[in-house]
Amino acid sequence: MSKSLNIALLGNPNTGKTSLFNSLTGLSQKVGNYPGVTVEKKEGVCKLDRTTEGYFIDLPGTYSINSSSIDESIVVELLLNKNNKDYPDLALVIADVENLKRNLLLFTQVKDLGIPTILVINMADQMKRKGISLDIPILEQTLETKIALVSTRENTGLDELKKLILDYGIISNKPLIQINSIDKKYFENLENAFPRQSIYKLWLIITQDANFGAIQRTLISDISKFQTKSKSEIKRLQQKETIKRYQFINGVLKKCFQIDKASATDFRSKLDRVLIHKFWGYLIFFSILMIIFQSIFSWSEVPMDFIDNCFNYLSSVASNNLPSGVFTDLLSEGIIPGLGGIVIFIPQIAFLFLFLSILEETGYMSRVVFLMDRGLRRFGLSGKSIIPLISGTACAIPAIMSTRNIESWKERLITILVTPFTTCSARLPVYAILIAVVIPDGYFLGFSYKGLMLMFLYLIGFLMALGIAWILTKTLSIHSKSYFVIELPNYKIPLIKNVALTVWEKTKSFVEGAGKIILAISILLWILASYGPGENFNQAENIIQKKYPELAEKEIELKTNSFKLQNSYVGVLGRSIEPIITPLGYDWKIGIAIITSFAAREVFVGTLATIYSVQNDDNDTIKNKMASEIRKDGKLLFNLASGTSLMIFYAFAMQCMSTLAVVKKETNSWKWPLGQLFFMTILAYFISFLTYQILS
């Protein structure tokens, strides 16, 4: 018969909980070198021996059980609610060996809750470099627990850890600190009022209510009536508790923890003096951004052209070699071009994620938080908002979730509302193709116009986010306390495995996600574009022949095809919305692409590719097809004015259903996402209109 154990992974932020979770369960949850990477509860299974399965629960990092933000409160709620299905049989507190003292604070708290607790000391690989030596047996004795010394980076100590987990029964669950010693009388009263409860648990519920708002606890005893102390008095007691715990920890560490200052290098402080310097820090930050945009553009040009040509070739192979018929047409005019419009962007997406994950893994991200805090505060945001704003360049959805570690509700709400303005990776394909088509070649101070345009688009997204944040700060009347405390992690050399994995996973999910959508859309589009209602569609050839009797056969065919397309179902639909978008410089085909890209922005190019293939199957690349598309008045459809206006539209419009859903989830109301949708669409329309009118 098999047993199962619930095992919670707790610990300070950035100590490697998720790394350990991934090693044990074989999953690949996001890891990064800054506090607050994990913001949700995640579960995974690991077989511990033949008969026991461990259900591991990865949790957000916390400095203590007293929570001050949403992600931290997830931990408290789990630990205080015995009826939660995930309530742990056993807790692992993961500590960073370099900062053992502070990590032990949480350990003593968890242990005092009466949960069997194993201490996992991670990053053992760093001990030598930092000159740290530890006496594990003494530490085990004084902390009344079992200890595993592991390094998830070098994969050491995991088997020993599994053995300790299986033997968790022998760990004492006696508290280490007598909580009632911080205020005898108060705790005596508490004990008398609730005789059958754990006194430390009661105390946690009281402090949690006082400091962060009532936690959800349907089945925890209701002690809201027991409020005999003011908030300020409770906080004083908490400080007393903290001091008491640290006294205990200092006593323990004196006996078994040694650090040899001489062999410890202080590399980080030296690097920090430069990287967050008043002047150099900013210069370096902006240079890094410049380099990223330039390389996203120039490095991916060659592979993109290559992929574009491959898909053309595939299309022509399909149409030349397969027996002609509806299916072949669907394949060569619908599906292949549609998929090509996605796959072509793999190089850019991969580069973007490569840079982002290097920034996250080195620890530079937290330095940016420091550099930007004061600037962002003026706009009603917190330094911590920079993480959603930067990681929003990948995708707004995880970015919005990562706001959970912003303490102030107002700053958090505003960050959630403006994050969709950041240029996400789904916009990159749209920008990339439009820039390639409408922005001329040429260099300015060594930077290509194309790269600069891309940087400009990212910049206006960011500036719009700031501007709107500023307006929201002035108009929303929400009062919440704002403070800012952030730990700056040590620099780390990025682990190639982690970086490669992130790039691979993200690129794969980009292709799969967008691929599925475009597959469905391109089939639908092809059908709608290949059939049409009424005389105009069915008699297209005759009508054109009558109208232009003097033209050569080739020209007649071209004219017929585009006339047919105009009168197909999709053409009729597109032309009915055309009046709305003509002032922005678009034609009905772009209109259709804007509508389909509501499902996912990146299908914009795929949609156009399918429509153009139906119209004209001369097997040219997507880029060339776009560049040669002619408007009604004989001018090029994609010119500087219409192209820029389209990019601006994509920069500001809220075109993503999944983002709306996640905003609803994080704000708990439809009010905010619907407001975003309405407001951002109007804004995008208006600014694109101005852009087109000024440029043309």
Partner: protein, 75 residues
């Protein structure tokens, strides 16, 4: 005794007292307790926020918080 916000770059100090109602509990738990050593590693423009090392922990706080932590210089 001076507020931490007036500590200069590179000076070493020891925390004397904190105004408990004005600073977040998290800061206390991260080691901002009387008796612990503190140094300033870097300051952002306008001295805000401050980058400190308190008792082995490297952290950043805003000036408005640093005003309520009082320290004594050590030579």
């Amino acid at each position: 005794m001076i507020p931490l916000s007036q500590l200069k770059f590179g000076e070493n100090a020891c925390i004397e007292s904190t105004e408990i109602d004005k600073i977040p509990l998290k800061l206390i738990e991260m080691g901002c307790l009387p008796g612990n050593f503190v140094t300033i590693i870097q300051k952002a423009p306008f001295d805000d926020p401050l980058y400190l090392k308190v008792d082995e922990t490297h952290l950043a706080i805003r000036k408005e918080t640093a005003k309520f932590i009082f320290v004594k210089l050590i030579k």
